[in-house]
Amino acid sequence: MRRQIPLALVFIFGVFMIFQYFVPHESSEWIYEFLLDWIYIIGIFALALGIWSLIRVSVAKIKARKADWEYPVITLAGLFLMILFGFTGYRDGSLGFHFMTAEGLSNPMFRNFFDYIMIPIQSTMFALLAFFIASAAYRAFRARNILASLLLVAALVVMLRFNPYLGPVGTIIADTASWLLNVPNLAAKRAIIIGIGLGMVATALKIILGIERGYMGKG
């Protein structure tokens, strides 16, 4: 009961979705769209579990008074303020709670938190990549063996593709770089993509057939 019914659901809905792909008829399409909505709605309900987990972990840290226990307070404050702003907004000039209409999205504090907290930190995290790509190249691009050397040389050639200080060699490097990007790179991607496709289908098949059931838990 606890494990058989869920596995039966996996099988039934999995098989249905496979056949659905080949049936363009309106009725099949209607069920397809409806089922996608299910997935979406289940996901939204699950967010409550996620937020609960975030709160519980934060509170546990604060209670335990371990090192850095102050910081989770900031997390909780950010979370609750953002939710508060998102449900309050101006309608007809007066501030109030609005749950069923989206005034909260245009609440100025909601926008400020988004524009001046989320955006700067997130885009700076993203920009750290400029540094990490440099340090990764320095650390890992060593000509230790033939594979590492191929990786290193290909990356070097492509990185030099618009370097102006190479004179006539520059043109050859630029042409080589475009050849590398359009020939071996394409071949490599094709092989990997086909492999991934087969791996995905095999995994999905194993799941539907109930061979792979580790995700389902026990008991």
Binding site: F131, A143, L160, P164
Partner: protein, 291 residues
Amino acid sequence: MNIFDRMMSLDRRWVFLFLAVVCVITYIVDFQIPIRVESEVRTIHEFIDTLKPDEIVFIAIDYDPNALAELHPMCYAVMEHCFRKDLKVIITALSQNGPGMAEQAILDISDSLKLDREYNGILYEGREIRKGVDYAFLGYKPYFALVILGIGQNFRLPFPTDYYGTPLDSIPMMQGVQNYDQVACVVDLSAGNITDAWIAYGQGRFYFPLALGLTGVMGADYYPYLNSGQVFGLMAGLYGAAQYEELADNPGLAKDGMRIQVYAHLVIIFFILIGNVGYFVSRREKKRQGR
């Protein structure tokens, strides 16, 4: 620990610091780097450079703000080059958000044109460019393929008036300009499938000289058209724009951006080389000691 071991295992924070300093310096300090020019960009520059005064260049601004970083520099470089050569320019914007960017480019360039400047050793006196006399901005119309086909018959079909509502017949420079036959070449700056329409429905049907300005990612897909002669020149990405700026001797946004890129890349390559020199020397040392 000798110097070579140290070269192999530098604290990565030195890499970070060095890269940040180089990026900031090349961003702030304004200096010029040479740009190696590829033939596909040179042909565009040469074509426009050898046109006679009063000939017409058609610049199609077909990109959206998200491709602005790569394509706006091309637009500036080509347009300023045309005006400095006393050519006349017809501008259209076939992407929905194009007109705003086209107007911004026209305004900025007409400011720049008021100054005397020397390009490639030739002095160009500053002048005021006038709407309708030196350029015509026709604006945006939806369904680009039909617009491109329509112009093949007559500009007045898709664009009865220009962007500002003036009938085309009342615009001095459009007198006698019917279709692509009166235009010396078309330069299409685009980040999407409008390029395909220019090749298939424009050049493919009316056989005018067509040059393309594309984003870096798209570039490689369009080289076949260069080989087949359907397109006489091609600029791809920031690097393509920088090459045009180099040829026109008019450094701008693209060369500024390339300056930072080139040096940032050099920093990374420099560290890779340091790491490898350290690796090889210390490996040889170890072999010697082991013997």
